[in-house]
Amino acid sequence: MPIYSFYLISKSGSLLYQKDFHSQNSPISKQNSNDYLVIASTLHGVHAIASKLTPEEAMGNYEKSRLPTNSNRFGLQCITTAKFKIFIHQTTTGLKLILFTSNDVSLIQATQLQGQLYKSYADYVLKNPFYRLDMPIRFRLFDDKVLTVVTGYNA
């Protein structure tokens, strides 16, 4: 159940952090940095549109699903394609954690992993005095932490 890549998007839709993970036969090819920005802002927009389109009857689904830290109530939660899945997790402050995974990862598993990644964000980014909110994240400690969390899951 490999994880292909991980995105962090701020509440205004700008890309804070992006990381591709090496795994064999990954369907995700390497893009240039401009494309990553485009992917991030597209997902942000689509997510916002989806939350407007959610039918009245489906509004209660979130309460039933009991995902504790996920405040992604009415928006896009998961996109399934033939080759990979995209999971979107939104925190209470509007930060989005997006995972590109293989098809056999379930929503529960993805949510667990996103919770762990959120924790390392809260620890290694928000508690760092040199970080300015809504700016791109470039910290070696956070990089290491994300890598250990994801490789621990991939293994």
Partner: protein, 266 residues
């Protein structure tokens, strides 16, 4: 309002009353704040005596809402466990760093500021830790002396820093204590995973800055106050698996070294 009911209010105000039961604390919190609020508005205009009354009632209110021990001054200095949340400490330390970063022109000046902040902590910490050690020795009634020992030798005080101060501050001993090979008045205290800067990663534009200068200042303060004149600086020395490993370099004054030689001759 008659006097008896007033005095009863005072009595119930002193915390949990076993005669009345759980209601004793619940009731008074509802009634007392109103009273103090009205008194406060009066006291702004009137004499110092009413100010005094305000002070006494506000301390009562603290006693009411938080139970028997209200402020840090009412608590016993000796506590078996005195742990605080690492997250809140990290956030506080983060703001300390931001504050000293904002007002300083160079990284050296910023480290100096952190060092000075720590220095003042160190002056007080020595007293507190010796006091707590005393309590522990008395409780254990071991063969150790019951009075705090004043350390006069360099190695003794450094051992004390490593084995008593570090557990009090960080809940673990410092990892190593070394003597410098090149310089006889330099000693090194080494911590592989300093807790205060566990989440801190210094970016490239601030390269060379070490936030552990604060801890270095604490060590310097407590060495100074125990008559070991020295300068302490923090240097990061990362190792594989320990990205934040820090060396605290203790540079003793030459007078201390000559005193040490004199003492060892005896």
């Amino acid at each position: 309002m008659s006097t008896p009911s007033n005095s009863k209010l005072m009595l119930t105000g002193a915390g949990y009353n076993p005669v009345i039961g759980p209601g004793s604390t619940a009731d008074s919190t509802n009634s007392l704040p109103k009273q103090t609020a009205s008194q406060r508005s009066v006291s702004q205009l009137s004499s110092p005596s009413s100010l005094l009354r305000l002070a006494s009632t506000s301390s009562e209110r603290k006693l009411n809402s938080f139970g028997a021990h209200a402020s840090i001054y009412d608590r016993n200095l000796h506590r078996g466990m005195h742990e605080i949340s690492l997250s809140s400490m990290s956030f506080l330390f983060m703001e300390v760093i931001r504050m000293s970063l904002n007002g300083s022109e160079s990284l050296l000046q910023m480290e100096r500021k952190l060092n000075n902040l720590g220095y003042r902590v160190g002056l007080r910490l020595l007293e507190l830790v010796s006091l707590r050690e005393n309590f522990n020795n008395n409780l254990a009634s071991s063969g150790k002396s019951n009075t705090a020992q004043r350390h006069v030798r360099v190695l003794e005080i450094l051992q004390f820093v490593k084995e008593s101060i570090w557990p009090c501050m960080f809940g673990k001993e410092a990892d190593n204590l070394e003597k410098s090979v090149q310089n006889e008045n330099q000693y090194m205290i080494i911590d592989s995973d300093p807790i205060l800067s566990r989440y801190i990663c210094v970016p490239k534009e601030y390269e060379g800055l070490d936030c552990e200068s604060f801890v270095a200042g604490i060590v310097e303060g407590l060495l100074d106050i125990s008559y070991f004149r020295c300068e302490v600086t923090a240097h990061s020395a990362p190792l594989e698996g320990y990205p934040n490993r820090t060396v605290y370099l203790v540079d003793f004054d030459s007078s201390i070294i000559s005193r040490e030689e004199r003492l060892s001759k005896k």
